[in-house]
């Protein structure tokens, strides 16, 4: 199994199960044991996951990927010590982020729901033509890519969170905005789109939205 097999789902499932940090170790870049160079996919996934973590208010530092060979035991030790130190400083998931357990649950759940979509996005929009560390870094760290990602993800993520929130009970637009720390006008926009898509319905009596 290759580090490229490390699915976005593995990462978010780990956080959802209460892990405070996730570390991915892969073979050294350009030294593939297969011919796939799948560790570059692991690198791309790391960038994507970090961006998504940022969107749901979780410190992206809680995810780390490092590449080393079988003979680099000292590096693994160094990275592990360093990473556990960092995570210890951040504390349990949510604490340094100021997220309650309920909020965490909804946010992570909404992120996980986006994963199949993100796999498609990765293929269509986020693929780096050249397999070099430099090309990956400059692509994923560029303003354009970040912007593109934000555009692609933020609406989907907001709707996903709203739907999860409405699962428990019907809420008004302002309740939703407050609950998810979103702009009320954005929420109205999402509510319109979602009701047109038949995902939710509006109850005129209570002024609340509920799942359709």
């Amino acid at each position: 199994m290759c580090s490229g097999r490390v699915d976005l789902e593995f990462i978010f499932r780990s956080f959802a199960k209460g892990q405070d940090g996730v570390f991915i170790g892969g073979c050294k870049l350009d030294e593939c044991n297969y011919t796939t160079h799948g560790n570059y996919d692991a690198l791309a996934n790391t960038y994507i996951a970090k961006r998504l973590l940022k969107h749901i208010g979780i410190n992206p530092k809680r995810l780390r990927t490092e590449f080393m060979s079988g003979a680099d035991g000292h590096l693994l030790a160094e990275y592990t010590d360093n990473f556990s130190g960092e995570i210890r400083e951040l504390g349990p998931l949510g604490t340094s982020e100021g997220l309650s357990r309920g909020e965490l649950k909804i946010k992570l759940e909404s992120a996980r729901k986006l994963i199949p979509y993100l796999r498609l996005v990765e293929r269509e929009r986020l693929r780096v033509p050249e397999k070099t560390k430099k090309a990956y870094t400059s692509f994923f760290e560029s303003y354009e890519t970040k912007n593109l990602f934000d555009k692609i993800v933020s609406d989907k993520l907001a709707i996903s969170q709203i739907l999860l929130l409405l699962k428990d009970k019907a809420l008004s637009t302002s309740d939703i905005a407050q609950n998810l720390d979103l702009n009320p006008s954005d929420v109205s926009k999402h509510m319109n789109t979602s009701s047109r898509q038949g995902l939710i319905k509006y109850d005129t009596n209570s002024n609340c939205y509920a799942l359709a």
């Binding site: 490390v6 789902e9 011919t35 796939t36 000292h74 030790a77 349990p92 979509y117 796999r119 293929r123």
Partner: protein, 951 residues
């Protein structure tokens, strides 16, 4: 058999009687598990030979961490062996492996052939005072430095100076130490590997210490290997790395800081002295120290340098029939050449002994497998003490107790050494007795022992994929020796995760694919024919395809090699042998139109002389060769006195007057190589130029011959010919790529001449040469069919568009696609002997496949759930093995995995938007099981409560 030497050799090819002498290691190999507890308790500190005596080791130790067999030995520093003072290790060893009564053992064996792979001895700079080695503390050899850089080295990967254990900041490398020198004690030849290994050391140093200043004092930079030119550029591009072309001598040591002063000179600054914190001597390769003695023992002839005396038509042979030679005992060689000469020697032994193939092999019979897939998981957990390796840190009994509390675990037990034969048997028996259907081993890394324990499960009638190994040694006890309590907890965590995964494990079938015994060889040059003959000599049918009307390839245009081998005679011999061999079937004017199938059963469709042939074969060898670049520069094609080296060679062979009677002849090297368009060295041209120059000088000693070069790359033993040419007054003038020579045709005194001008860095002013003939070292480029054939066989190309081997060092004749092999110049430019070596190598690898009736494909491959597949093709683009394709199904076009081609990396899994593609043995459920079990619910609740209370 390690620790063993050949004592006596008698007999002939096919029937050698050999007496072996095995030195006592004072350890019973079968009993030692390599746990190293003895080393820990041994009181004797002794210089560690593996780490160049820089750091210490114990009298009893495993030679190095990847040693095979992973078994300790006791050296002469042992107190018991000296005067029976101490036998602590004997008391410590729980398997009773220590045996001080061992003596030298003599064994007689009977073999049909012998392969000598004696390798090299690094040059010892201590033999010459001028190198300062042994005299100045901070002068080390490249071997020393190699160990310093290694994470298993003397300072665990830290580079430190001998004098003060500080990290050196300014490091100098001196190249050609012991090589390319005719002085007493040095070698006249080029060692061939030092330029590139130095660049590797520089890159690793910069990786270790970003601000290190690295200076390399060198003669020619010989980056003649595949991808070496780019590697050189990478090393050179670092900040703080200087490559200085100068002779460098070690002047003195600064008494204050033990730094070393080097004296050198450059064109710009003249003679200079500079101080370095550390100096690395890039030492060359010597033949084995006792090579003369070995030669006598085996009855083989050596050359003047002490390497095997090459038989040019077959460098794997020695002068004694039945004795073969592989690796650097042929002469200085790099890793890929060592690997393919090894396979080549194997193939030649096969030619000799094919009639006895398989006589000594025995088949294993396993009990029939029970189908337990419908049963509830019944997991057995075995926790290994590994002597004291695990149990001195991890509380094994309480871990066993803990395992019993885990879901689905019905049995748990501790074992002293799970890998010992009796323990493995115990697992087999208990599995049957307790009705276990899955086994978790809390022991070591699956890398080494998983095959053994899979076997144990098979013995119990269980599917071998019902095993999971929880690595509580490398991942736990070895790294947490000081945190016993936490380590025990971690071991339990690891086992809990493993148990969770085990519950999801599925039985998987490995399957046997039949192997068609025919080989297809594409390309009828020296490489293809040599390979075809070697395969045919081992009883296999060979289909040999040649795109031209005649066999021979580019070698048809070569008269002799630099060593004097008659190429045409050799070629004609080969061609005759090919046509006379009833097993070799040649197709002329052949074009491949289609290739289908996979390892063991390919079908290749060929158009040949107006016919269509469908060839079924089990293995494919691609030997499609290379061709010569047609220069667009230096008036080539415009002026008929401008030749390429190949053409010049042909003219010399014909004794063409215009050429042999020329007053002045200028050769220009690197035409179309080592530039932006072709960023590689064509490897053969320097020797080619020297060969032509020597020939011309022998015919016409008065001829003025100039060779304009960038770096002379007459690597290995060819260096002697470079020197011979210089001694014959052939003039070598270096030029820089920024200031290439200019050639113009002028008329002077009624005579047409070619005026070659170039700036000379040594003279400092422009140089003007009036030549009658100009010869160009035109690049070696891949033949035009390479790209098409690569596509047909689903193999890849390197950036320079030669075939890309599976691994540049370790798999130089294989492709990543199973069952497809390569050799010759289609791989990279190379000399004829190198092609012959590689052709035998490819034959050897092909035989490894063809000599079996079946190949086994792993059970851990991907499979598509058609119902979930949305036909997006994401998996297909992710797979570099070409293992996935669309297939028409009743539900429409769906992805389908060819299990034979799938290598089980699982990259496709992470790409599938619907989770339709699944890597067996690493399924989502299995991994989710592990993830979910990583932290217990209870633990999470506890932590969360604590955190939110604080907040």
């Amino acid at each position: 058999m390690t620790f063993t030497e050949v004592d006596q050799v008698e007999g002939e090819q096919g029937d050698f009687k050999i007496r072996l002498k095995t030195k006592p290691r004072y350890i019973i190999e079968e009993k030692c598990t390599g746990c190293s507890t003895c080393t820990e308790y041994c009181p004797v500190q002794y210089p560690d030979a593996f780490n160049q005596d820089i750091s210490g080791n114990k009298a009893v130790h495993v030679y190095f961490s990847q040693a095979i067999p992973l078994v300790a030995y006791i050296d002469e520093s042992c107190l018991y062996l000296k005067d029976k003072k101490c036998d602590i290790c004997r008391g410590i060893c729980k398997t009773g492996a220590i045996d001080f009564n061992q003596t030298v053992q003599k064994t007689d064996i009977n073999v049909g052939a012998i392969i000598l792979s004696y390798g090299i001895e690094p040059f010892d700079p201590g033999v010459k005072d001028e190198y300062g080695y042994g005299r100045l503390q901070n002068v080390v050899t490249s071997m020393d430095y190699e160990r310093l850089l290694s994470s298993t080295g003397p300072y665990e990967g830290q580079v430190r100076r001998t004098s003060d254990r500080e990290h050196p900041k300014k490091i100098a490398w001196i190249q050609c130490v012991g090589s390319r020198r005719v002085t007493e004690g040095d070698n006249s030849y080029c060692s061939g590997v030092c330029c590139t290994y130095t660049q590797k050391q520089v890159i690793l140093t910069k990786d270790h210490y970003q601000d290190a200043e690295c200076t390399i004092f060198h003669n020619d930079i010989r980056s003649f290997g595949k991808d070496f030119e780019r590697y050189y550029q990478r090393a050179e591009a670092y900040d703080g790395v200087r490559f200085i072309r100068s002779y460098a001598s070690i002047e003195k040591e600064n008494p204050e800081n033990n730094s070393v002063v080097i004296r050198y000179s450059t064109f710009d600054d003249g003679v200079k002295e500079e101080e370095f914190d550390m100096v690395v001597l890039s030492v060359g390769l010597n033949p084995p120290a006792d090579s003369r003695m070995l030669a006598d023992k085996f009855g083989i002839e050596l050359n003047a340098h002490g390497f095997n005396k090459e038989i040019h038509s077959n460098p794997v042979k020695t002068s004694k029939p039945g004795v073969f030679v592989s690796g650097a005992f042929q002469g200085p060689t790099d890793i890929p050449e060592s690997v393919f000469t090894a396979s080549g020697a194997g193939s030649q032994c096969g030619e000799l002994l094919d009639y006895r193939r398989g006589n000594l092999s025995r088949e294993r019979i396993y009990p029939p497998e029970t189908d337990v897939s419908q049963e509830e998981p019944r997991i057995g957990v075995f926790v290994c003490h590994c002597g004291a390796n695990i149990s001195s840190v991890v509380d094994v009994p309480s871990t066993v107790e803990y395992a019993l509390t885990l879901p689905n675990v019905v049995y748990a037990k501790e074992q002293l050494f799970s890998c010992a034969t009796n323990s493995a048997q115990e697992i087999t028996e208990l599995a049957k007795e307790k009705g276990l259907n899955r086994v978790v081993l809390g022991a070591c890394s699956p890398r080494t022992l998983e095959p053994l324990f899979r076997d144990t499960l098979r013995e119990a009638g269980l599917n071998q994929y019902y095993l999971d190994m929880a690595n509580i040694r490398e991942h736990c006890s070895w790294v947490h020796s000081k945190q016993k309590e936490d380590a025990t907890k971690k071991a339990q965590d690891i086992i809990r995760m493993s148990v969770a995964r085990a519950a999801w494990l599925e039985p998987l079938q490995e399957f046997d694919l039949p192997v068609n015994k025919t080989a297809l060889v594409v390309g009828g040059g020296i490489g293809g024919m040599t390979c075809a003959l070697s395969i045919a000599a081992q009883g296999h049918e060979v289909q040999l395809l040649e795109k031209e009307k005649d066999l021979g390839g580019i070698a048809r245009r070569l008269d002799t090699t630099i060593e004097g081998m008659d190429v045409q005679k050799h070629l004609n011999d080969l061609i005759t042998k090919v046509y006379q061999n009833p097993r070799i079937h040649v197709s002329h004017e052949a074009t491949i139109t289609d290739v289908s199938g996979y390892v063991g059963s390919f079908v290749t469709t060929v158009e040949t002389e107006g016919q269509i042939k469908k060839i079924k074969h089990g293995a494919s060898v691609l030997a499609t060769g290379a061709t010569e670049y047609e220069p667009e520069e230096y008036l080539y094609k415009e002026n008929d006195a401008v030749y390429t080296h190949l053409e010049l060679g042909e003219e010399i062979a014909k004794k063409e007057e215009k050429v042999v009677n020329a007053e002045t002849l200028v050769m220009i090297q690197c035409v179309g190589s080592r530039d932006e368009k072709r960023n590689y060295c064509s490897r053969v041209c320097c020797s080619h130029a020297v060969k032509n120059a020597i020939k011309l000088k022998k015919i016409n000693p008065d001829m003025n011959i100039y060779i304009l070069f960038r770096d002379m790359r007459t690597y290995g033993l060819r260096e002697d010919y470079y020197r011979e040419a210089a001694d014959m007054d052939v003039k070598f003038i270096r030029y820089e790529p920024e200031e290439k020579p200019q050639v113009e045709a002028v008329e002077e005194g009624g005579r047409s001449i070619l005026r070659v001008t170039l700036p000379d860095p040594v003279l400092g002013y422009g140089l003007e040469l009036d030549a009658d003939v100009v010869s160009l070292a035109a690049a070696v480029i891949p033949s035009e069919t390479t790209t098409k054939i690569a596509g047909q066989f689903k193999v890849t190309l390197s950036p320079d568009e030669f075939f890309k081997e599976a691994h540049v060092k370790l798999k130089p004749v294989e492709f990543a696609a199973d069952g497809v092999f390569l050799c010759g110049t289609a791989h990279y430019p190379k000399h004829i002997q190198e092609t012959i070596n590689q052709a035998y190598g490819a034959a050897g690898r092909a035989l490894t496949l063809l000599s079996h009736d079946t190949v086994v494909a792993s059970g851990s491959v991907c499979v598509v759930n058609e119902y979930d597949c949305v036909s997006c093709g994401a998996c297909i683009t992710a797979c570099t093995y070409g293992a996935i394709e669309f297939k028409e199904t009743p539900k429409g076009k769906k992805a389908w995995v060819n299990p034979v081609l799938c290598k089980g990396d699982g990259v496709c899994n992470a790409k599938c938007p619907t989770d339709a593609i699944v890597l067996k043995h690493f399924t989502d459920e299995e991994i989710f099981g592990q993830i979910d079990a990583a932290v217990t619910d209870e633990e999470i609740r506890k932590q969360m409560d604590a955190a939110f209370e604080d907040a």
